[in-house]
Symmetry: C2
Subunit: 297 residues, 2 copies
């Protein structure tokens, strides 16, 4: 199974972090080449990459800083500054948990008097490898839950994983089709999910975010599958705005609701402990420089 570009959208190559610019999709497949970790942080802030891409941005940004400062005496402080800058870039994402994780490696390296550069690099690469394997295993498992003739509703974009699930289900001989919400305000449903599912040859029906109850009430939806930005110990998940009412509607119409999530470190106790990001209003009031709404709202 070929990995879709959205599955692993950020990687280190030739002393640069390559970041798939998801804001240009589907019109253009283009990578930002970040020459230092600051440029990676900026790409995260500007939502050039999102969802799992931000996890990759964090660790590849750290890897790049490691490479560029490997002989510096204050490597530990540099690394801590890198992590702090990522933590301050956007909330919701489990950057704090990653910092916690990397800090534990730093402590271990100091304790055992290991070379900091080599030890952190090895651990990050191992973590990413492990994360990829968990995702691939989950993709396989979810593909087996899918039944023949299922109509699957999704929201936002699950970083290439839904396409992989769909391709595996198809390889298992199941015929499936998709309903995708456009996912206002940033249209990740239209621009990413509908695009990648269509490109992989699946039948895709795009709906407005407000058509969920309607299509569910008509019996058109068999399963809901969404991703998550973060999760909590009690099973709460945090995901793109709109996921809550999607779940409320699934409950109303008795439709199974699946969320792809994984614990990437220490988890908050309950969902309410996850900070939710409030984005600038211009992302909602404008689209490609056209204003949608009256001033002052």
């Amino acid at each position: 199974l070929k990995e879709p570009i959205l599955f692993w959208p950020v990687f280190l190559k030739k002393n640069q972090v390559f970041i798939l610019d998801e804001t240009l999709l589907p019109a253009k497949v283009s990578y930002i080449k970040a020459k230092n970790y600051h440029e990676v942080v900026r790409a995260v802030k500007e939502m050039k990459t999102r969802a799992f891409g931000q996890v990759l941005a964090f660790f590849n940004g750290a890897l790049l800083a490691l490479e560029q400062n490997k002989n510096k005496k204050n490597l530990e402080n540099i690394l801590k500054k890198v992590m702090s800058d990522f933590c301050n870039s956007r909330p919701t994402l489990p950057f704090g948990a990653f910092r916690h994780l990397v800090n534990s490696w730093i402590e271990k390296a100091k304790e055992k008097n290991l070379d900091l550069y080599a030890f952190i690099k090895k651990n990050i690469l191992g973590f990413l490898e492990n994360t990829k394997n968990i995702a691939l295993k989950r993709v396989q498992e979810v593909s087996e839950i899918i039944e023949n003739n299922d109509a699957i509703l999704t929201h936002c974009n699950i970083s290439g994983q839904l396409v992989m699930i769909a391709q595996l289900a198809r390889a298992q001989g199941k015929k499936i089709n998709f309903f995708v919400t456009e996912t206002r305000p940033y249209f990740q449903g239209s621009r990413l999910s509908a695009w990648e599912l269509k490109k992989a040859g699946f039948d895709v029906t795009l709906i407005c975010d407000n058509m969920i109850a309607k299509v569910m009430s008509e019996g058109k939806i068999d399963k809901v599958i969404v991703g998550s930005d973060h999760c909590a110990e009690n099973g709460d998940i945090a995901n793109k705005i709109g996921t809550y009412q999607l779940a409320v509607c699934a409950k109303e119409f008795d439709i199974p609701f699946y969320c792809l999530t994984q614990s990437l470190g220490k988890l908050p106790k309950i969902g309410a402990d996850i900070p939710i990001e409030i984005r600038p209003e211009k992302e909602f009031l404008f689209y490609k420089n056209k204003r949608f709404a009256p001033r002052g709202t």
Copy 2:
């Protein structure tokens, strides 16, 4: 209380039907001047006017045809053709019920040997007068249900009536504020409701259609008030896409849900008997000529 322009957006004047072009709002307040009923039908088809404006379009289109053909022998057939053209323009709206009503007047005129032109004209004017009085009475009643400090969530646009309700409530000394869904795909929430409420001096928070459960779960909403295109004998209502999940969420969070509706003639028995209009996909996939979504969806 001054009537907002959206309250009575279509009227007959100087042998022309003036139709407020709601697609140009809020950027521009402009009226289409229809010189014959065909131009009125076209404005309905193209959604230049909508909701209650279409009711007014139907009757003012009929009035215009009456004036322009008052001395014709086949006035009855002309009138029936006018009504048939409106019925074929858009479903959902209770045009069928209006035709039923006007036909009953035609039968009565024939039975009692009355002048068809004069009798139908008198009845239409009486019907419109009566409809306005019912709306004004309802606006007054709803304003009394509103409580001090209410945050009211609305969807789409209730043809100026929500502004009147709000103004009356304010005159009763109540402080209120509004949450308005943008109402994809045509943005009637952003373009019409947010605009007219803001213009009347109310505090308006615009939200994406997918933010309903979120704001409700935070206790930010006290009441939901929406309009309706049509209703049924059993109390079902038909309104803009998105109203269903708004109601599902209101139920989930125990928030009172009010729908402004009125029987404008013979009603279908249940909501499922109301034909629902499926609009062209381009209204959803494009906004101001910019494509939102991949081809083939």
